[in-house]
């Protein structure tokens, strides 16, 4: 049956709470095999849920990577001077990076809680962060920014330390202001490191799975469902290995494209 390969519309779950469960034991469906050519790939274009997941993934990737880079750069510059307890501060910055993604998703789910969450309490509002289609994806972005900015900070700090101190002094002697030093010296010299950060972060953000899967399960109304989550649900919850694999291949092709794009940028004379 070709139709078996397509996702069941009933799968559009509208509840907020993530429905996470182990892979079911029954597995007869895996043994059903019939060659159907590129039918699964053609179905992608008619599958609104795929297009929705693609859009969500792009939104999540672009917004979170941009914010992480800006915030990471600010923090790296802030920490790039000598002060007491610098080592301690660096360890504290590493905390979000070291915490398991699942744990951080549960932590943030509790922080975002509408009635008893600390966020609503501190802001003095009563927003249903994970239940509203507008806020849910942004809440996921915010959590990801918290979790992965430390990685960006570490790489950028390493990049900043390579810049010779004399350069700053020479620029200051020549009358350059802080902003000039930042845009004309720091940024150009940091460019290769920034590119490396962008490669790692874009690839990771594009294939995001556990963070959002545990936080929202893809809901509400699939507004936070990314490609990896959709693929996972089709593969292991509805056990449609054919179409699920098609979705997984799409993720693979996209990340492959992203890496090639960045590697070409890197090799195109942006080296030091």
């Amino acid at each position: 049956m070709v139709r078996n390969a397509f996702p069941d519309p009933a799968l559009h779950c509208h509840d907020i709470s993530p429905d996470i469960r182990p892979v079911p034991e029954s597995s007869e469906i895996f043994d059903v095999s019939r060659f159907i050519g590129i039918d699964n790939y053609l179905f992608l274009f008619r599958d609104d849920r795929f297009l929705n997941a693609f859009k969500n993934t792009l939104y999540f990737t672009v917004l979170s990577v941009t914010l992480e880079l800006l915030l990471g750069l600010s923090i790296a510059i802030l920490l790039n001077r000598s002060f007491r307890m610098k080592g301690l501060m660096r360890a504290i910055v590493l905390i979000p990076w070291a915490i398991p993604t699942v744990v951080s998703a549960k932590m943030w789910e509790w922080i975002y809680n509408t009635d008893f969450g600390i966020l609503n309490y501190l802001l003095g509002v009563k927003i249903n962060w994970l239940g509203s289609p507008f806020w849910a994806i942004n809440a996921a972005v915010f959590m990801d920014v918290w979790k992965t900015t430390p990685f960006v900070v570490i790489l950028l700090t390493a990049g900043l330390q390579v810049i010779p101190k004399d350069l700053y002094q020479a620029a200051r002697v020549d009358g350059a202001g802080r902003w000039d030093i930042f845009t004309r010296i720091v940024l150009p010299l940091l460019k290769p490191v920034i590119l490396v950060v962008l490669i790692f972060r874009t690839l990771d953000a594009f294939r995001v799975f556990d963070a959002i899967y545990v936080l929202t399960g893809g809901g509400p109304a699939n507004t936070t469902e990314t490609l990896s989550i959709y693929a996972y649900k089709v593969l292991f919850q509805t056990l449609q290995f054919g179409y699920g694999s098609t979705l997984a291949v799409v993720v693979f092709l996209c990340t492959g494209g992203i890496s090639i794009f960045y590697i070409r940028l890197l090799s195109k004379g942006v080296r030091l």
């Binding site: 910055v93 590493l94 905390i95 398991p100 998703a105 008893f116 990896s228």
Partner: protein, 270 residues
């Protein structure tokens, strides 16, 4: 004035990074009745009930033990295989080194979601479903590229003369490896070990897919599937989160320098 602003920013940053974990810790000390009241932020009478509950009513100890076995075995295997491979790539005369390294690195480019279903079929066919071994070989496969990459960079920094001198003095390449290279690259090996350990301690997708019972469940899956009868047991989840995060917090506070070295060696020096 400028100093004050600087330290104010530093404190803000510390709160931003550690705040959520701190809140989870405070939550873990509250009784269920206190969880649904805000303010007060701090519990009136801090309680250990949640911590006692997770160890009493759940197979939580089993889950922690599983994670420890998986992470420790993965780290050991990755270091043995990775250091040998990195030594060869950094010091021995073999052709197509760049190509080999590029090929190994390309493995880490694969998105997990694209590899999870074929791996699932293989693991099922081998009868390894719901075993710790399935997770150990999978994690070793996926952490090897990182391990080899970081270790190759560390081995390269050891001067070739040391290798050649030892060879002239009659060491076999393998002897040079374990008598001279390993001790010299100890910091790098240490950094790699921490990174691989944290990766295997935290991994979720493969663990969720390959395991079905507590016999082989690891911490991330255990926390995601935390049993709750009627309501989400936030106090218990908070206590469990704190318990599984403690080893990682100790790691980063003690080995902060090594971790940063490892991360930067893995992505920049090449």
């Amino acid at each position: 004035m400028r100093r004050t602003i600087f330290y104010l920013l530093i404190i803000l940053l510390a709160l931003y990074c550690a705040g959520p974990l701190l809140w989870q810790f405070i939550t873990s000390l509250k009784l269920d009745t206190e969880l649904t009241k805000l303010p007060p932020i701090l519990p009136k009478a801090p309680t250990m009930d949640n911590y006692i509950a997770i160890f009493k009513e759940n197979p939580f100890l089993r889950i922690i033990l599983n994670s420890a076995i998986v992470a420790a075995s993965t780290t050991t295997l990755s270091l043995i295989l990775g250091s040998l491979c990195a030594f060869g790539l950094a010091k021995l005369r073999i052709g197509y080194k760049g190509l080999i390294l590029g090929f190994i690195l390309s493995v880490s480019m694969f998105p997990p979601i694209a590899t999870v279903s074929p791996l699932y079929l293989i693991i099922r066919a081998l009868g390894l479903r719901d075993t710790l071994f399935a997770l150990i070989i999978t994690y070793t496969t996926f952490s090897l590229p990182l391990a080899i990459w970081v270790l190759t960079n560390f081995f390269r920094e050891i001067p070739d003369e040391i290798y050649l001198a030892a060879r002239v003095d009659g060491c076999t390449p393998l002897q040079v490896f374990y008598k001279i290279m390993l001790p010299l690259a100890a910091p790098g090996i240490f950094a790699t070990a921490i990174l691989v350990f944290i990766f295997s301690w935290n991994e979720f997708l493969f663990a969720l897919t390959f395991t079905s019972t507590v016999a082989s469940r690891t911490i991330p899956v255990g926390i995601a599937l935390f049993p709750g009868l009627h309501e989400v047991p936030w106090g218990d989840i908070a206590a469990a989160s704190v318990v599984v995060t403690i080893p990682l917090i100790i790691l980063i506070f003690v080995f902060q320098k090594r971790i940063i070295e490892g991360l930067t060696a893995g992505s920049i020096r090449g």
